[in-house]
């Protein structure tokens, strides 16, 4: 295995484009090292991204949105008050990943690019309308987060391409988001089901919404029908019932040791309901 420490994304992309064998990028390493250890993945080339200037930065964009570097670990996100104020749902998804030790290293980008359907930070990013910058040998382009995963362990990234930043849109007034997952214990487990909801209010009514579901399909799902179910409402019981039904209808899960199809289909509706209530209360400024 060759270990590279490029100091720009262009250099990383060139190295990746020129490489022959199996390649991995190294952000926090909390997936890559586990896979190496298990013998699942033995990279020929490992490209450490942490020597590229700016990868540890969180900065506010001119439009009020946020730019998050690809090496920012979960703990640093969780300690950033202004970011947590704007996008608590995104941050709480990432902060569910692993232990204190894992939080010291694990990144949003690694969580996304590892391609697990159960990745905890991805529904929150999708619900928020986050985008990523893909840098390749021929330049950069901006892509919505939901377009990145294409199946378990697979992404849309082509040879020589990597993610160089994550962008969260401006929160704007009267908005709130939330992420909830179901696991059989309280800490350190993989989501059986996850649901993220992001709303913007006009008075008491929901003007805009995005609903994203995790672990109920080969990739995270952005469910427009679930968003439509609550837009225009005050999140009354009828709207919540519609949201739960639309979420359950969109779920296409598998049965495995963590949960059956029937269980996941049911629970995804329950979690979407609960996450919507939290997002709504946050938008109202009634809770953190």
């Amino acid at each position: 295995m060759r270990y590279h420490t490029p100091t720009s994304f262009q250099e990383a992309a060139r190295l990746a484009a020129a490489s022959g064998g199996l390649l991995r990028y190294l952000a926090g390493g909390t997936d890559v090292l586990v896979q190496m250890r298990a013998g699942m993945v033995q990279p020929d080339e490992l490209i450490d991204l942490k020597h590229i200037p700016g990868v540890f930065d969180i900065s506010r964009n001119a439009d009020g949105g946020w730019r998050i570097g690809v090496a920012v670990p979960g703990r640093v996100l969780g300690a950033h008050e202004a970011l947590c104020g704007d996008w608590p749902g995104v941050v709480e998804g990432m902060n569910l990943v692993g232990s204190t030790q894992v939080q010291g290293r694990a990144t949003l980008t690694g969580n996304l690019c590892n391609g697990s359907p159960a990745a905890d930070s991805v529904p929150g990013l999708v619900a928020a309308g986050a985008t990523v910058t893909i840098t390749g040998p021929d330049g950069s382009r901006e892509v919505p987060v939901e377009a990145i995963p294409t199946g378990p362990g697979r992404t849309v990234l082509k040879k020589g391409e990597l993610i160089s930043a994550i962008t969260l849109p401006p929160r704007g007034a009267h908005g709130g988001d939330a992420y909830l997952r179901f696991i059989p214990r309280t800490e350190m487990d993989i989501a059986v089901v996850g649901a993220a909801v992001n709303v913007t209010l006009d008075g008491d009514r929901i003007a805009k919404a995005r609903v994203a579901l995790g672990a109920v399909a080969p990739t995270v799902l952005l469910v427009e029908a679930a968003a439509k179910a609550i837009v225009g409402s005050t999140l009354d019981e009828a709207a919540l019932d519609r949201l739960a039904a639309a979420s359950s209808a969109a779920a296409k899960p598998i049965s495995d040791k963590r949960g059956t199809v029937e269980f996941r289909v049911d629970v995804v509706g329950v979690l979407a309901r609960r996450a919507a209530k939290i997002a709504y209360d946050r938008a109202k400024g009634m809770s953190k």
Partner: protein, 159 residues
């Protein structure tokens, strides 16, 4: 496999070693630097026995490559006692009998020290959450939590 020359600081001392780039920091500490206080339980980030700090951040050394330590500051259990004086956490662990086989203890001490550096007065639930990634098969955790609470009190000068 081409070895990489790594220069780093461990417990305040400058050190160098030659690492296969696939080797973890845990392996490098134990096999190249003979610092065997840091333990390997699982090797996959689940048990916390390999806990160290890297530039002040608590991490699992089994999930860090040795080559990533280049130019960084690593703190391990060997750096916890100073000049023959046990750290208050170490003394309280003995006082409370917060260990049986002791395999998890170095990792838990390093993790608890890191907690008290950022939060000198943690609640019981803050301690339990912080240490959720440190598994102990023997004690049932209660004695560990009490030892951390008493060490925190002692360090705040409250005891």
């Amino acid at each position: 496999m081409k070895k990489v020359h790594v220069t780093t600081t461990v417990n305040g001392d400058p050190v160098e070693f030659l690492a296969d780039p696939r080797e973890t920091l845990l392996d490098c500490l134990r096999n190249h630097l003979d610092l065997t206080g840091t333990k390997e339980g699982c090797g996959t980030g689940d048990c916390g026995a390999c806990s160290v700090t890297l530039d002040g951040t608590l991490v699992c050394s089994c999930l860090v490559l040795g080559v990533e330590a280049e130019g960084k500051k690593v703190e391990t259990i060997e750096g916890m006692a100073s000049e023959g004086e046990l750290h208050p956490l170490q003394r309280q662990f003995i006082e409370h009998a917060a260990l049986q086989c002791g395999f998890c203890t170095p990792g838990i001490l390093v993790a608890a020290k890191s907690l008290l550096e950022q939060n000198p007065d943690p609640s019981e639930s803050e301690i339990r959450f912080w240490l959720a990634g440190n598994l102990c098969r023997c004690t049932g955790y209660d004695k560990i939590v009490r030892a951390v609470q008493d060490a925190a009190a002692e360090m705040r000068g409250a005891a």
